[in-house]
Each structure stands twice: as structure tokens, then as C-alpha cells.
Amino acid sequence: MEIRLENLTKVFTDKTGKQTRAVDDLTVTIPSGKLVGLLGPSGCGKSTTLFMIAGLHQPTDGKIYFGEDDVTRLAPEKRGIGLVFQNYALYPHMTIRQNIMFPLENLNIKKKEADELVYEMAKLVGIEDQLDKKPSQLSGGQQQRVAIARALVKKPRVLLLDEPLSNLDARLRLQTREEIKRIQRETGITTIFVTHDQEEAMSISDQMVVLNFGVKQQMDAPQDMYNKPDNLFVAKFLGNPPINVIEGEVKKGKVQLLDGTVIGETKVADGSYIFGLRPEDFKVDDNGFNVDTTDIDHTGRDTMIRFMIGEKQLRALVDSESVEGKKTIKLAVKKNKIHIFDQETGNILS
């Protein structure tokens, strides 16, 4: 099921009449059978978008299509969606079985058939031996699976996940995100998943949509987006440790930082720009610039060096062996790895 959002806009008006554009003119096509991550900082409108797709929020403007059907004005239960809430919203007074069965009850499915479906779903998410417990007796990770089973049991056309991993501890998060990916592969269901964690989104999504202040910044496959960000916001948002952002200029095709260090060449016209340098795009090179190794972190295979260019602190991630025992090393930037952004718009130029 392909999902198309056309010029989707949501304006919230508070009591004083102040308007907030939570989602602003969003046009996105989500391909059928893919796992798509909606990514952005808190308050960027990603959950609002999800809730509009679910039908729990009514858009102020724009259209939502599931395949060829316009579902913009359709009630949530008629859209054929499954939604997993951030805190799961399992009915606390029902057993796990009753929780998973609840959507089926409303479809008038025969008891025996419903029982089989519930078991099948419970087995898919691996909680078939917990069916007679109450949600409060389950761990966070198990509750999460129950929520997924409940969302999937009525065979929805679309699965929506709202920050599905944010309530889990680090270890369980890793395990569960693999689990989600597996379930999505097995069922082949079009899945939209909201997160503020770029690492999570990168590791799990087929496609990512980055939002900021309700405006779409970029949609691409994770690695493509990481390598070729459309603007400074996306570049800064993706990657850990984050990208180094430093001002400088281009003179006669040479990329020059403010203290005069030349770090590479470019075809961009002369002028002042903002440069983005990923920490891992530095390399040890005899033709590079001198860097003190006084402020370093060993992280095992790699070593992070913090150094100053003018007033600005930069981070570089290099091979541990090349740093060992040396007071200064020479660093250079790998070829074609300098991101150049317009100073005013933040859009990428190269």
C-alpha cells in the first residue's frame, strides 16, 4: 500500500488564539511494503503527521491517499491501520489475550478463528506463553511486542509506530529494533515509524524523512542521506559524533578555513561558506595540517581527537595506531568529503 501525503498541513490554535504550524505543506510518497522512518527533533511535527495518517488528528489542509483512496476524511477505524503508541496504551484491565483480541471483537470474527489469529500474532512477536497475564506483569519489551501484535492482528494495510523504542533500555532497544525489522519483513506491511533518534532511524529504515518545524528537509535512503545531506540541518542532525561545522571561504578553488588552513579543493565559486566535515572523514596525512594530540578519547579501534581551528573546536576520528605515542600528528580531509553550505539558506552547494 503506497501512502501519499499531499500538501499536508496541521495548524494548532491555542486558547489565546496563537497559531502553531505543526506540519507545514508536507508532500511525501511512502513506497509500498517499505519501512520508512519519520525523523526529527522533538516538536518537529513527526508524531502529528503520524496521527494524521492514523486519522486521530484532522489535517487543516492537504490530502492523504492510501493507494488510490483518499482517506483524508475517513474515520480511523475505517482506514485499516495499526498503531503502536509511544507508551503502548495496552488496556491495563484486560489480559494480553483480550488486548490482542480487542480489535477482532469489533470486526465480528468468530471466536475460534479469532483465537487462532491471536495465537498466530503472539507467536510472530514471541509472546505466545504470556497470553493470560496482565500488561503490568510484563516487561517493557514484552509490552511493546503485545502492542505490535494488537496493531497487526486485524491485518492492517499500514502499520504506524510512534517512538516505539523510546521507553526501552539501551540493550532491549537494539534487540527490539531488529525484531521490528524482522516482523516488517515477514509481513511485508508498509510501515511508518517515528523517532527522534537518528541512529535508530538509520539502522532500521529503508527510507528516511527528516522534518524540522513541520517542514520536510529531505527524503532518502539512510546512507545516501548521510553522505549527501540536502542542507545544514540534515547534516547536523545525522551522525554521531556530529558533523563539524566551521566557517571559511573558497578562494580560487581552494577551500580555506578562517585561520588560513587549506583543507581541499572545490568547484564552488569564490566566497564565504559554511563547511561541514564529518569526524571520520579526516585522515592522517603528511601533507596535512598540524594537530596537538593532547585532548583525545580512546574508543577502542578509533581515537577521537579534539583540536582547535581558530576559536572553534573540531573533532576527528582516526585510527588509534596512527596516534599512539605521538605529540602532534598531521591531519587532512579525505577527498570530496567537504560539504559546502550556503551561509544564508544552509542549502548544500557541494
Binding site: P76, E77, N106, R150
Partner: protein, 346 residues
């Protein structure tokens, strides 16, 4: 709510610590240091003493004493003398009085008709009030008014609304005016010529209405405490409004419904003042030459014994009737607690 409780706990903890420090200072100053070394249970009782004394004098002793008095025979209230003891004599006297059986019947009707109706109505009003936005505060005040109004005053207003009869068409209450608009003949609801059921209807309507206020407030606040996400989840799961109410709202506030059920049943068993206000101070309506309708409740019946101060033994019978009421209430409360264990989702 969670944060509030946490905050409250912290406040209490810091306050109690502060009080502890103050007490130690006080003991130090007055050379009472030894008090601090007394065992914990002793200190606990010492600090509870004011409450224990007041409860003991005004609650525990009277309960114990009425239990005792119910076994006296020929007890004289004025002199305090009595002839001897009887194990079940007073109880037999009370139980064999047709007035008592009628009072139990009247009370049971009030309990088992007005309480369930009032709970169901309150639940629907609370749900309705939760889903409206305009005039919410206004409606909340409207429904809460009965709670802060004197019950005798309410009863008198009810009596006034239901007054009037066929012979006096110019002096009809609101209920009879409505009856005449629809072409009916005015009914003597609670006055001379009333029937048992017409008077009981008025008492039941009063019971339902007077009980609404508190229930609505309790239900409304517990409904507002339900996480909105359950309803969103249920909506996506395709549950209708009606089903959301039955499967989510009711189970999630079932502890509150249960609490209201237990307390209202106990309260309804103790109905007294509304009968005085709506019917009259004798609890009996004359219906014709000789006929009369008895609308006394158990508490009313007990109270009448107490007024027979001239007769020896009346107080013992009153005590016996009170103990019987106590037993009835206890049995129903125990049954409810047992049922509640299976039906209430905490």
C-alpha cells in the same frame, strides 16, 4: 496525579522530620529526654491519645453500650435500672413487630432501587459532562448544588413540588401541573389520599436526585484521570463509542464505582431525614377513613422507640433494632467486598 502524590509525600516527609526535630527540642528543654527512649508503640499510643479518647467516648463506647443495652429487659432510661438480662427477647420483640418488617421493606426498596438508578444516571451524566466543552463549569456547579444543600430543605422543596390533589385544582405542585398539562387528573402524591407507591415514587426520585451530586463529581474526576490514549487506541481498534464506554471507561473507573456503591448502599440504609421532610414527622399518610400508608425506614423506626421514653424497655428495643440494622449493613458490605474482588480492576 503521580507527581502530585510524590510531591505530597516529600512535603509530608520533610514536615514530619521538622516536627520530629521540634519535639526533640521541646523534650530537651523540659528535661523530658527520657521520653525519647520509650518504646515506639508507647509513643505511638501517646500521640494517638486525643483521637482515641474522642472516638472512644463518642463512637466505641456507644456502640458497645447499645450492644449491651439490647440484652437488658425492662431498662428504665431515667433511673438507669433494669430487671435483668434477656438474650434474644428484645430482638424477638423488634422482629415480631409488623412496623419493623414494613420499615425493612421500605428501606430495602430505597436501597435497591434508588442506589443503582442513581449510579447509572450519575455515570451517564459524568460521561456526558466529560465530552462537552461549553458550559462545563456551569453544569458542574448545577449538579453539585444538591450536595451542599440541606437535606431537609431539599425534602421540603420536593414535598412542595409534589403537593396538590383532585379537590384543590388551584394549589397544585409542579408534578401535578405537568400531569394536568397532559390531560391527567392530579395525583395526591404525598398528601392525604396518597397510595404507597405514589409516595414511595417521590421518595425514590428524591433519593436518586440527592445522591447524584457526589457521584457525578467522583465519576467525572476519575473519568478525567483516564489516559486519552486508551480511547485513541480503542478508536483505531474499531470500538464504537458505546463499546469504549463499556469496555474501557467502566472497567477503568470500577474501583470508584465500587467505592460509591458500597458507601451509597450504607448511606441509603440510613435514610431518615428525607422521609420526615417529604412525608411528615410521623412517617404515615392517612389515605381514607381508616387506611394509612407506612413509609418509615429502619432509622425512623429506631428513632420512634427512642421517643417512647415513658415506657420501660423501649431503649433496649431501639438498641436491638440498631444492632439489626448494623448486621444487615455488614452482611451487604461483606457480600459486596467479595463480589468486588472478582469484578473490580484495581
Amino acid at each position: 496525579m503521580k507527581e502530585f502524590i510524590r510531591e505530597l509525600r516529600w512535603t509530608l516527609r520533610s514536615k514530619s522530620h521538622y516536627i520530629g526535630v521540634r519535639i526533640n527540642d521541646f523534650l530537651e528543654r523540659n528535661h523530658l529526654r527520657f521520653f525519647a527512649h520509650l518504646p515506639g508503640w508507647f509513643k505511638a499510643i501517646f500521640f494517638l491519645l486525643p483521637a482515641i479518647v474522642i472516638l472512644g467516648v463518642f463512637t466505641f463506647y456507644p456502640i458497645f453500650n447499645s450492644f449491651l443495652v439490647s440484652f437488658y429487659s425492662g431498662y428504665n432510661i431515667v433511673t438507669g435500672e433494669f430487671d435483668g438480662y434477656t438474650l434474644i427477647g428484645n430482638y424477638v420483640t423488634v422482629l415480631s413487630e409488623s412496623g419493623f418488617r414494613q420499615a425493612v421493606l421500605n428501606t430495602a426498596l430505597i436501597v435497591f432501587v434508588s442506589v443503582p438508578i442513581s449510579i447509572i444516571v450519575a455515570l451517564f451524566i459524568a460521561v456526558a459532562m466529560n465530552s462537552i466543552k461549553p458550559l462545563k463549569g456551569f453544569f458542574q456547579n448545577m449538579f453539585f448544588l444538591p450536595y451542599v444543600t440541606n437535606s431537609i430543605a431539599i425534602g421540603l422543596v420536593f414535598a412542595f413540588m409534589f403537593k396538590g390533589n383532585t379537590n384543590d385544582l388551584f394549589n397544585l405542585g409542579l408534578a401535578n401541573q405537568i400531569v394536568t398539562w397532559f390531560g391527567g387528573t392530579p395525583v395526591p402524591w404525598v398528601g392525604v389520599g396518597a397510595t404507597y407507591w405514589s409516595a414511595m415514587t417521590v421518595i425514590l426520585i428524591h433519593g436518586v436526585w440527592a445522591g447524584l451530586a457526589f457521584k457525578i463529581i467522583v465519576f467525572l474526576s476519575s473519568i478525567q484521570g483516564i489516559d486519552k490514549q486508551y480511547y485513541q487506541a480503542a478508536q483505531i481498534d474499531g470500538a464504537s463509542r458505546n463499546k469504549q464506554f463499556r469496555r474501557i471507561t467502566v472497567p477503568l473507573i470500577s474501583p470508584m464505582i465500587f467505592y460509591i456503591l458500597v458507601t451509597s448502599i450504607i448511606g441509603a440504609f440510613k435514610t431518615y431525614s428525607s422521609i420526615v421532610a417529604i412525608i411528615n414527622t410521623s412517617g404515615i399518610i392517612t389515605t381514607g377513613a381508616n387506611g394509612q400508608v407506612n413509609l418509615k425506614t429502619i432509622v425512623f423506626f429506631i428513632y420512634e422507640y427512642l421517643q417512647e421514653t415513658g415506657r420501660n424497655g423501649a431503649l433496649s428495643e431501639a438498641a436491638a433494632a440498631a444492632i439489626l440494622l448494623f448486621l444487615i449493613i455488614m452482611v451487604f458490605t461483606v457480600i459486596q467486598l467479595q463480589v468486588g474482588k472478582r469484578r473490580v480492576h484495581y
